[in-house]
Symmetry: D2
């Protein structure tokens, strides 16, 4: 079991008219991730509408903020009880066995144009032995070809752009990984989180983006940017790609400041809390 | 009430290895569309896995076909009992009132890059009075600027391509409409169907693609290609864009022939069956 | 006659290996622009290869810089004796009358994909009366739809991107103008310069980019960003688009600082030197 | 010496208004290619304006055709006296030694966006030994990854599209080759021609597109589609990419039919005319 404490502070200035905010900064509720305590506060006194997406436990806070400054704070303690598998036991599902509700994770999405990449992916990865090793090899292939570079991409950058220009941030690594997996018919999706273990020099990835692939009937975590040990990822949102789970979607005119984020892991083996470590096992935190 | 009979015949030749087919050619089951009779047959004797998507009643038939020729036939009689509204009564929902489960229809998707079009759409449509009239005006704006031209687009063509190159088929009109609506924060989605009233010279649109927009708590039909009276549309699939509801998704190598499709409306007013006609009312066939 | 003094200072740090520099910061030599005095210096003692392009007088300085800091300074006094025409007298050339050597300015180039915009441009501008007024109207159309916004674009941004996303800097305005003019068969090209009159808040445009269109057998200046009076533009380079006339093309690894630029106009009517002013005349500084 | 006879027939129907044609179907005049006899005829009696581009001998025929059918025929006998080099002797020019007039062939152009491919090309090809062998290896790299497929591309398809989608025709192979060469600073350009040796099943490439790279002070031929022995290529046009040297640029509304093309080589060793053969030498037909 891993226990982590984390906190997020967001600061905005709403200009002129009230603005609608939809935030996805709460820790998700999943069978493998339990929110032990949490505290959410907004500096303006406005009603907040909370919503929990029924399949993946992604939680959204929606409110209308008035003109002027607004600060949002969220702090939580979260327990993660991952499902761990031996990588060599995991297999890719034939199309005929992928549940229909999961099939759309094989289809292209806004930032993951797998429909354009079928020939490319088949040629690069089609001959590799299927399974978790192939997924890891795709992640490694991306890491070898892509420079982690703040400012190399923008909000509209897609997997195809990253494949061509070979530079980006965690979100771009994730989109490219998803697109390439889907192009060889492996269901893949996008997750956002806070990552224990991000090197401090990679500050742009405080909010982290990573990938899940569907193998042997479960979703397993892959972080193509290589930043985080999979068990050190607190899940915020799960979706097809970044279009689904932006940490903040804002309708209206605002100025914003860089978010501040902290995260700590509880080192208390006597009570069953281990530190997140990097190992060679396959980690799933969502069935 | 509208009663229509329609039929679809698909022909393929599977080459070498067996191929997985996922077809979306069954009429959807919705509160407003009732399948009275139907018949589905495949020329190969293989098991078919049927699946009905729980929210919109989209139905998928999945099977693995063996090498060699395969013919798929679907015939059905369908009753459509549309909800009709006076257009002037429909209003756009403020962001704060859009149900969370519908919000992702405001976000960009594979072929509808609304994230790139916010300034464009705000400038063109931002000053128009909100409501159904604005939606109709966006459809008209597209029709005036886009040539219906078979072969002008391909499977990877997106809304941005169509906006720039101003030519395409029904699917392209629909994607552009969806992208522009989302860019002004109107939830919009993609539907496929068989359309009564397609001019015979527009044969490429036997399988039709059209749009639904969310107004006053319901989804209303808009056909930006202007081909069909909204009540003459038999719904097959509903999704974010064409990535979700291709009529045929095939994994494997096949040759294919153009589908053949027929549709007839029952003209029997004595028993309550009217012909689909074009009028100025707003038509919804899905809450 | 206009006399202007201007100066440019560029600062780089060459890292590791020597780097090749090709600079286009010298004032062009043209029949309408005379370099009265100039001074070019580099802080490293390396040989400089000067080249003057024979048609438009664009001048390039090429040198190989060694590892370490390097500062480049260019100062000049330039006289501009523009050809002035009454806009209403200028006409567009029918294709049959455009000289062959100029025809490629009707064709698409890297950042000006006019081949994709024929239908778009024909629909928007095809019905307008041809001539300088149409060109001015295209510039005005762009200005009304595009936000001048530093950071909205990057080096690979093209006219199609700017048309869709409606934000950019002077270079983007110029590329969009060129693409739209070519799409209605008006030869158009890209020029770079230093602009007298740039509002100080638009500091990003110290190096300015503007457009020339070919009418009645001459190239006339249009600045779609609206920043500069045409006679206040000192010409550095002329090309199909920014791919031809970057102010600095560098092969190798360097750090760079923002260039510093100054420009002054000589106000000395007694000696024939007027200040550049904005008026309604058409200005040509290159036949 | 190679002597070839070839002929081209183009057929159009001009609709409504007269249309301007600019054809590049004449054999180029170059120091290595001599037009022995030629015959050009148009079925309409309209004046033809011939133009020969001064650097590369590309020839253009321009005329205004009236409404109705028009047939254009060109037949020629051409001698090609190629410059042959031992590939191992050819070296890439350092930037400092590339003549300024040739430098723009290192810059990106409409269909060859080398500016986006620097990291990609450096990673794939940066470690290979420079020279003709590297150029051949790039061509081979493309051939291994790209399917020759009629209809896979259209007129607006670019090198980046082909790199991603891995299918195209000769023009697409050429654009990708040019973009990748430029991205590693090898000047590269586009040539069109009629190719002796095209397999008949590749009918779409009657008009062929190929590449020239600049090595050791000369332009050498590379055909990345692998269709033609380099000496069996009759040169029509030379440019940055297809934007410069379309075989037909038409302003106006026309219907067109597929061109018909024939080519024969004279097998007359007694008089010094050899057949074009595929060998391992480097072939240049333009200094």
């Amino acid at each position: 079991m891993i226990r982590m404490n984390f906190g997020i502070t967001l600061q905005y200035e709403v200009i002129g008219q009230p603005a609608d905010f939809i935030l996805n900064i709460h820790a998700a509720n999943t069978p493998h991730q339990t929110v032990v305590t949490e505290d959410f506060s907004i500096s303006q006194s406005v009603p907040v509408d909370m919503y929990e997406e029924p399949f993946y436990g992604t939680r959204f806070a929606r409110f209308k903020a008035n003109a002027g400054p607004i600060t949002v704070r969220y702090n939580a303690t979260v327990d993660i009880d991952a499902y761990i598998a031996e990588p060599s036991t995991l297999r890719e599902s034939p199309i005929a066995e992928i549940p229909q509700a999961i099939l759309h994770y094989v289809y292209p999405s806004r930032y993951c144009q797998s429909d354009r990449l079928h020939k490319f992916a088949a040629r690069e990865f089609g001959q590799w032995a299927p399974g978790f090793s192939r997924v890891q090899a795709i992640a490694e292939w991306i890491r070898q070809r892509t420079v982690f570079e703040s400012g190399a991409s923008k909000g509209t950058t897609s997997a195809v752009d990253t494949l061509i220009e070979q530079a980006g941030v965690c979100r771009d690594f994730a989109h490219l990984m998803i697109a390439l997996c889907r192009a060889v018919n492996i269901p893949a999706r996008f997750a956002t989180g806070i990552d224990y273990g991000a090197a401090p020099e990679l500050g742009a990835c405080d909010f982290h983006a990573y990938v899940e692939v569907y193998l042997s009937g479960r979703w397993y975590i892959i972080d193509p940017s290589g930043i985080s040990p999979p068990q050190g990822l607190i899940r915020l949102g799960t979706g097809r790609d970044a279009a689904d789970v932006a940490f903040a979607t804002i309708f209206g005119q605002v100025n914003s400041w860089a978010p501040t984020v902290f995260i700590d892991a509880v080192n208390d083996p006597a009570n069953g809390y281990e530190m997140p470590v990097r190992n060679n096992l396959a980690v799933s935190t969502q069935a």
